[in-house]
């Protein structure tokens, strides 16, 4: 699995666990439905927990459990579906989520910088992706005109430097 890190330290691949499978040792991702039905399982000592959300599942519903989650995986059904940007931003700005936000699905290289500025930490790239194209696209723009969750230094006016992903 090829991943593009949008912020340093985004973690490695985590297995997604089927709703009827037992929890393995180590980091893993559960579905939103399972989490919602069974609550956040106690994982003390056996690994961190992530949750996977579909585009139409409300991130606000994670409010009560967000502190015990280390990763949220958002899956985009189509690159045109811009709800993922609001999901990520809501996680960061309304739920104050400090863990990793990972996005999977058919996003375009040209969307990487937008996702980054909405608080996404890493992207799961399509299988045949040319990583260089993604890095180039993500490093393209050096200026942005609106605040983002990255709180880039601002001014003059609305301008801020939009820092490209550090790579690696």
């Amino acid at each position: 699995m090829l991943r593009l890190e949008l912020e340093p330290g985004a973690s490695a691949a985590w297995p997604e666990i089927a709703d009827d499978a037992p929890l393995p040792d180590g980091d893993c991702i559960l579905s939103f439905a399972r989490l919602r039905a069974g609550g956040v399982p106690d994982r003390s000592g056996s690994g961190r927990l992530g949750v996977s959300l579909r585009i139409d599942e409300p991130v606000e519903a994670l409010a009560g459990s967000i502190e015990r989650l280390a990763l949220v995986l958002l899956t985009v059904p189509a690159f045109r579906d811009g709800r993922v940007f609001t999901q990520a931003r809501t996680l960061r700005e309304r739920l104050d989520f400090a863990g990793e936000i990972r996005v999977a699905g058919p996003v375009l290289p040209d969307q990487a910088a937008f996702l980054e500025r909405c608080g996404v930490s890493s992207l799961v790239l399509p299988a045949n992706a040319d990583e260089a194209v993604w890095r180039r696209a993500n490093a393209r723009m050096h200026t942005a005109y609106q605040p983002s969750v990255r709180d880039e230094p601002a001014g003059p006016g609305l301008k801020r430097r939009s820092e490209a992903a550090s790579g690696g």
């Binding site: 045109r80 811009g82 940007f85 040209d110 393209r140 723009m141 609106q146 709180d151 609305l158």
Partner: protein, 560 residues
Amino acid sequence: MSGHGLPVGTYGYDATDRAFLADRVDEFRDQVQRRLDGALSEDEFKPLRLMNGLYLQLHAYMLRVAIPYGTLSAIQLRGLAAVARRHDRGYAHFTTRQNIQFNWIRLEDAADILAELAVVDMHAIQTSGNCIRNVTSDEFAGAAADELVDPRVYAEILRQWSTLHPEFSFLPRKFKFAISGSPQDRVAARFHDIGIVARRDDAGRIGFGVHAGGGLGRTPAIGIPMREWLPEEELLAYMEAILRVYNAHGRRDNAYKSRIKILVQALGAEAFTRAVEDEFAAMPRHRFRLEPKTVAAIAARFGTPALEAPADAAAVLAADRAADPAFDHWVSTNTHPHRDPGHICVVLSLKPTGGIPGDASAAQMDAVADLAERYSHAEIRVSHLQNLAFGHVRRDRLRSLWQELAALGLASANAGLIGDIVCCPGLDYCTLANARSIPIAQRISDRFADAELQRRIGPLRINISGCINACGHHHAAGIGILGVDKKGEEFFQLTLGGTAESDVAIGQILGPSLPEAEAVVAIERLVETYLSLRTGEERFLDTYRRLGNRPFKEAVYAAA
């Protein structure tokens, strides 16, 4: 002139703004290359080219260039004329959204054109696609006597804020803003996804009235009031809240139901407003606060005209008018009062008899740029009614400007009259069209060529759209004309009683649609009926409101 080297009436780019545009042109060049290489499918390329204003039309690509809040400098207008000459067929077309379109573009040239535009600080960013589009404003902004706040600084703030917005670049559908600073609505604020009216409180502080959920298209809707008074510093936070609710909840399964107006209707005005207010209350508003210093920094990039006129400027104009009835007529239709008594605002009609509404030749554009430099501080405005305007013309020089405009074919004395037709490109260019809107516009214009007749009819707007997408804003006119397809033939449906002004109303369908020739006759009958039934100087709209559609319907259909 500005005195600071800044363009009058519009935001002057700095080095960072220019670097941003250069990055953007590079990005587009790369995207075109990836498309030509096959790395991008047409499906994937489409939203990217649309975000750079490039449409695939019937015969060629069309490039739509943004004219933010409808203001441009003489240098920029010459830049557009050069593109028209080099890459089009010597013409350009001004649209109802204060943009300009080139209809004969090759994909291979598109990145070069964007680079040429960038030289004059222009771009095509977000002139199409499901994103926040060009912010429109009043063509008399910063000049009109009735204005309370110059809306262009805020239009520029909204333009910058919405440019490559990380969260709102893939919305359910396109999103349109209009902003006015006058209590007299000249921007059709309530027919926009968000319509903003800038105002002042008793202490002189600036705030905004906000409407949302308006629009034309196949389901015309008048925007609902969201805030009577939104303080300046909360402008961006509140816009974020509205857009976030729309982005999260707007429909994405059906393009016809995906505009914000449908969400407002589905939730109801109250629930929609509550959702926005909840979002607004919960968001980190400090991050989005529009600080006075931010407003000041952007305002400081606008050039301001030094308005100096001789003490007798107004007297000279009065004498000129008395001496020349043709000039006097033109002044009464094609000017608007300026806040300075020595100056006046002027409409340059792009509606010559029998012409194509909104079209201008490269030669006309160059000539207008020259006139703007000599008469109006090098500033040109584009109106949402597909005309051009000069903001700051000295009254004592108006007659000489009029003579020069007449020589260019830009002095039709018809602003706001029946000859001032608004019309979309229609089936001559547009892939979505049902009917040709340009020829019927030309025919109507010919029928009412008589200037005296036009004056007798008085204010009457005719707007024409070639299909239900309503780019010609047909619902917003006293007489609206909509092209429909009837078993493969071009027919036209008439609507009456619409207006986008302060007494906003949606035009209502008169009856069955008609073939072109009959539709033109029907317009004549409507006008005759109005003239015979009006009392005194009553406007068409008022006669219609007083009598309803019955006499008009009878006049059109009884004889048929």
